[in-house]
């Protein structure tokens, strides 16, 4: 029996050995709330941005890629961000959850996504350019929940400006990154605050020329020749993540991909 962290109703877990033998109270959403979330199907998502292609008209899709991504690949920022993985579509219910999580300060709502974020991270590992042996090793270690010395990806959360961080008390990307059970590398810094991204229009966002992100020089070695996984709460146009990837480019990482909770 657990308490749903969104609607506060009591729900029962399906009876299996894992739940039978564990004593810990699980943090999660009840089946009714989970049904309202729209998970993006793995094999029907955009090859580049992870968008749910079933919701898109066929004319906007070209061999598994959406039109937005095609434009990105033709533009000046092409090739910086190899791929984005997203877990949920940004529907109205998700909007409510995100605004409560980000603006009201309910950190626990993100922790409720832990099993699925971990599941998505496993998918990231499976599709990574590692050798089959390494993949199998990492997946096995994750499955068992064991600690290990080296990690397949360097986890870099997108930063908030100092001012916003003080005001809010936490960085939502760091909260999400910590769900992955491995050290978080705060390699990026945000320069100054150019206003909230979520308050800007689409055109305004796409025209952000000056890069607000900067690589923290202490972490150059941690980035060099590594696989980097950027973590953010939401992928909207992809500008933010591409700018962050551009900032990391200085340290010459092997590959930069990203993982976001939602897409929309």
């Amino acid at each position: 029996m657990s308490l749903c962290i969104w609607c506060q109703s009591i729900y029962a877990h399906p009876l299996d050995f894992r739940h039978l033998l564990s004593v810990s109270n699980q943090v999660g959403y009840c089946p009714q709330c989970v049904a309202k979330l729209e998970q993006i199907p793995a094999h029907q998502s955009c090859r580049l941005c992870g968008r749910d292609l079933t919701k898109l008209d066929a004319i906007y899709i070209k061999d598994g890629t959406c039109l937005d991504c095609m434009k990105w690949e033709e533009g000046p920022l092409h090739g910086l961000l190899e791929k984005n993985y997203a877990l949920y579509s940004y529907n109205d219910f998700m909007k409510e959850i995100m605004s409560t999580f980000k603006f009201r300060g309910d950190v626990l709502l993100a922790v409720g996504f832990k099993p699925l974020v971990l599941w998505l991270y496993k998918r990231v590992i499976k599709e990574s350019p590692l050798t089959w042996f390494e993949k199998a090793r990492y997946l096995f270690l994750y499955q068992m929940g064991w600690q290990f010395k080296e990690y397949p990806y360097v986890i870099v959360p997108l930063p908030l400006s100092q001012e916003r961080l003080k005001e809010r008390g936490y960085n939502q990307s760091v909260v999400l990154a910590e769900l992955l059970q491995q050290p978080v590398i705060p390699a990026l810094q945000r320069r100054e605050d150019g206003g909230k991204q979520s308050k800007k229009g689409r055109a305004e966002r796409l025209n952000t020329f000056q890069n607000p992100y900067r690589l923290d020089s202490d972490y150059t070695d941690a980035i060099r020749d590594k696989y980097i996984l950027l973590i953010d709460d939401i992928y909207t146009t992809g500008t933010t993540l591409r700018l962050a990837a551009a900032a990391l480019k200085v340290a010459k990482p092997k590959q930069v991909i990203s993982l976001t909770l939602c897409h929309g």
Binding site: L3, I5, N25, T100, R104, G105, D106, V107, L108, V111, L165, K166, R168, G169, Y170, N171, V175
Partner: protein, 461 residues
Amino acid sequence: MTNEIQNLLFGKRLLLDEIPFSIQELDQLHQNGLIEMEQGIVQCEIKRPWGKQTIHRCCRCGNTDQRLFHSYPCEKCHQECTYCRKCLNMGVVKSCSKLVTWVGPPPKFLEYTMPICKWTGQLSSRQIEASDGLAKALMRRENYLIWAVCGAGKTELLFPAIEKLLQDGRIIAIATPRTDVVRELYPRLKKAFPQVRMSAHYSGSQDTQDSASLVLTTTHQLLRFYRYFDHIIIDEIDAFPFHHDAMLHFAVNQACRLKSSKAYLSATPPADLKTPFLKNQLQGTRIPVRFHGHPLPVPKCIWIGNWKRRLKKSRLPSLFMKWLMKTSQFNCPIFIFVPSVTILKHLFHALKEQIDVSIDHVHAEDPNRHDKITRFRQGATQVLVTTTILERGVTVSRSRVAIFGSEDAIFDEAALVQMAGRAGRSLEDPKGEVVFFHYGKTLEMMKAINHIKSMNREGGF
């Protein structure tokens, strides 16, 4: 400046972020001992049979349910910070946030000496009796219960009592669990007491004023006040969120001053008020007659068999259909109460195919809820299928009531009495009609019928 802070903070307990003054000014006042700052979340030890246990407690809402606390490393205080999830929608309370209260001298309140009540309605003799009793008891700072049937005119009888108390310089709150009721009541009170400094608090309200003598509020918003009121009048004490939520009881207790009293208004008081009242430990009056002087309609029971199985096949019980056909001929609005949202949808679709009168459905999460209810009030829709959200506070004249599947566990005595109270509320059609469509009578149904019958008997019918 100090005056402004005094007016804002007196009788309130606000978060530091909510106060539009600079920290330096507040610090100055804090050093002068005029304001007090408390931690938002405290840790306390409680004794358990197996030893001591350290638990978190939210100072604003009194929550001690440990499942509703969560800790995370805070960037503000650079420590592990705990926050309360229970009162989150009033702004987050964390271990490192401060709750600010005014402890200096109280601000000046307006004094009312002249007759201030501009309400010109007539009260029945029973209402006057209850109103006098209420005023006297509250003057002596004693609690009071008004147990009045649905449609007895509970709100109106408050007016003379409020007038007397205001003239004595008391500060009064009228608290109700539902936002709709506050919105509806505020203009009425504003009209009745035009000179009085009045404030209405509900989420998203615009009419808030500091140092008001008469405050209209939802029970949730009482959390914003701290030792402010001499009297709190709680309407619909048994209504849904209040009855089950310890937080709201805590809110009421901390919003009133140390020497204060409460008045309770209800048609179906819960056992913890009913028993002391019947034992004469709690003062109060009972009003068993409606304002128009007609008896309450006694519910009829009609057995409709296994309606759940039929509903799955989109079929409807024939006795129910017969009743609906007959009643809809009179051209009067019909409430159909159902136990759950899934049943609501099934029944609505089945009904829509089979009858040709205008029909609509409404439930708590319906975005067009208010529009639909307004349309039903105006008579644009004749039949309204609804869950228990409309069980109280709704007056539609000439309405008939059917409770479909009244044996369901969600319908307890109070709910059934309240729903039955939707019928026959106006002078034109005082008789009304209430029918319980059931698959086996339950104890709660019988209790509800007996409740209504005994009220009628007491009213002299």
